[in-house]
Amino acid sequence: MSAASVPTPVVDLTPGRPALLADSSTLIWRGLARWRRDPGPLVASLGFNILIVLMFAYLFGGALQVPGGGSYREFLMPGMFVMTMVFGISLTTIAVAEDLERGMTDRLRSMPVSPLAPLVARAVADLLFAVVTLAVLLVTGLAIGWRAHGGGGATLAAVGLILLLRFALIWVGIFLGLVTRGQTAVVAVQTLEFPLGFLSNAFVAPSTMPAWLGAVAAWNPLSATVGATRELFGNPGWGGDSWAAQHYPWLAVLWPVVLVAIFLPLSVARYRRLAG
């Protein structure tokens, strides 16, 4: 092949090979650089989460009774931590849909970039943001009187379970961003967030709901994580007789693994299918 007539650049342009790790870390750098340049949406998201906590703690808190008479704020916070993980999903979906729409995804696909890297980078960058979000919420919780009583190991395990759930939900968000377009994507995900969040044991005992609704709430992946982290933090909870309620720690691991096992391959397949 003759390349003699190609423009000669000053820089030596002998490229390396496409590599998942290198490409992913480059794209993670992109995600972080974006946030540094334009932190607005992240600040808004953090502010929204803090606002929700304060609203529940001070506005609804007075009207709610905690089973067994424990502290309402101790009861509240594990539910809030998990809700927050759900509320971040639309950011993932928007980012994926935007790259598709604005031609960025096409540009990456026309370059020798590992085809998994854009998705992996999205998941990792958004998980890093989830860590920041959770840290802010933990501090907010401590400030309003929430405490973890389970010891260091249990507390770390609880934090791990919460982030594991977020990691699984990120892949749901990525998939939705790939299959829906524009505003539809955002509306779809935001519509999903609320029922998913409230139809759980986060704020209301499933045993007080109509039987079928209670069963849905008990089996909600969120309930598993909320139930398990309440135990691990040593915070008051609902208990419950359902099989699901008896096995929350197991389900809190199983559910996210199942979600990742479904939505990660679906997302990768969908990404490859962009080539028609």
């Binding site: 003759s2 423009p7 650049p9 342009l13 974006r34 540009r107 696909r109 020798p112």
Partner: protein, 323 residues
């Protein structure tokens, strides 16, 4: 079979979208170091062919080689040798111009230091050095296109695909982009350009391929194509609408061909081959029957005429595109 000398080879490309064929036996050869303009109406298959040649879309049938490599079997080899500039700048709006170029340089596996050097070099070359640290969201349309072109040039690609590169740009932005493209071609890059602006093809392309219904229906230099239409046209605008019929009769007699009439513009036009005296004859004939003439012109066919003749419908005009 050797394809030496051709930077782009497409043979019998076929691609279907559900029930509709987008490419239906598409053939193309672009010699190294030249600019090929792909012209065609919306939906003719221009973008589909560019997407296949730039490895974004799988082909159903046929064979395509870009820069010496098969697009289906060696897509990564192709990807190291092409630049793609699409209809809308594919840039990260939140990042600065420099950050964008560093990002793409690193994704081409240049390594951090060389990616930074290359970014500085390209920003300089495309006249963006002053805006290098500004976020792209503050750039004008022309600046974005130039940055987009710069991103397509990071590895100094052998082949550059430009899919309607000046859509939505004002005349100044267009000229900026054209100048950049000419510079790249002078340095040896092969360019495949799709456009709906015929003057853009006339300005930039060495050869033109007219695409219709998923295949190339005509091919040649802009002059070849114009000559195929068979020479010049005379256009006469009469002063009074009442004279139109008389004018048609005289023009028909002199040119010995059926003229076309545009009633709204009071214009009669006819093809006259290469008869040098035809214009004078027409004016004399009109004068003899006392038809006052408001305007008269002898013009060479434009690519618009070529296009209309070949495809049966006009391309969109610049006004329509802007609207």
């Amino acid at each position: 079979m050797t394809t030496r000398g051709d930077a782009i080879v497409a043979e019998g490309l076929r691609k279907r979208y559900r029930d509709r064929p987008a490419l239906d036996g598409f053939d193309l050869r672009v010699p190294q170091g030249t600019v090929c303009g792909l012209l065609g109406p919306n939906g003719a298959g221009k973008t589909t062919s560019v997407r296949i040649l730039s490895t974004l879309l799988r082909l159903d049938e046929g064979r395509a080689e870009v820069a010496g490599f098969d697009v289906s079997r060696q897509p990564d080899q192709v990807r190291y040798r092409i630049g793609l500039v699409g209809q809308h700048p594919a840039l990260d709006e939140a990042l600065s111009g420099r950050q964008n170029l560093v990002l793409f340089g690193r994704l081409f596996h240049l390594g951090r230091r060389r990616a930074r050097q290359r970014a500085v070099e390209l920003l300089e070359r495309f006249g963006l050095a002053d805006a290098a640290e500004q976020p792209v969201s503050t750039y004008s349309g022309g600046m974005r296109r130039r940055l987009d072109l710069a991103a397509g040039m990071i590895l100094a690609p052998a082949v550059l695909f430009l899919d309607e590169p000046t859509t939505g740009l004002d005349p100044r932005g267009r000229n900026e982009v054209w100048e950049s493209v000419r510079e790249l071609v002078r340095a040896g890059t092969t360019v495949l350009l799709t456009t709906q602006h015929l003057d853009e093809a006339d300005q930039l392309a060495d050869r033109i391929s007219v695409v219709e219904a998923g295949r190339v229906i005509a091919e040649g230099t802009p002059d070849d194509l114009k000559t195929q239409l068979g020479g010049d046209r005379i256009e006469v605008v009469v002063a009074a609408p009442a004279d139109l019929a008389a004018a048609v009769a005289q023009v028909r007699r002199v040119a010995d061909r059926e003229p076309t009439v545009d009633v709204d513009r009071r214009m009669v036009s006819v093809r006259v081959g290469h008869q040098a005296g035809a214009l004078v004859d027409v004016l004399r004939a009109l004068d003899a029957v006392n038809v006052p003439v408001a305007d008269v012109a002898l013009r060479r066919p434009t690519l618009d005429d070529v296009f209309l003749h070949l495809t049966g419908h006009p391309t969109r005009t610049a006004e329509e595109v802007a609207a």
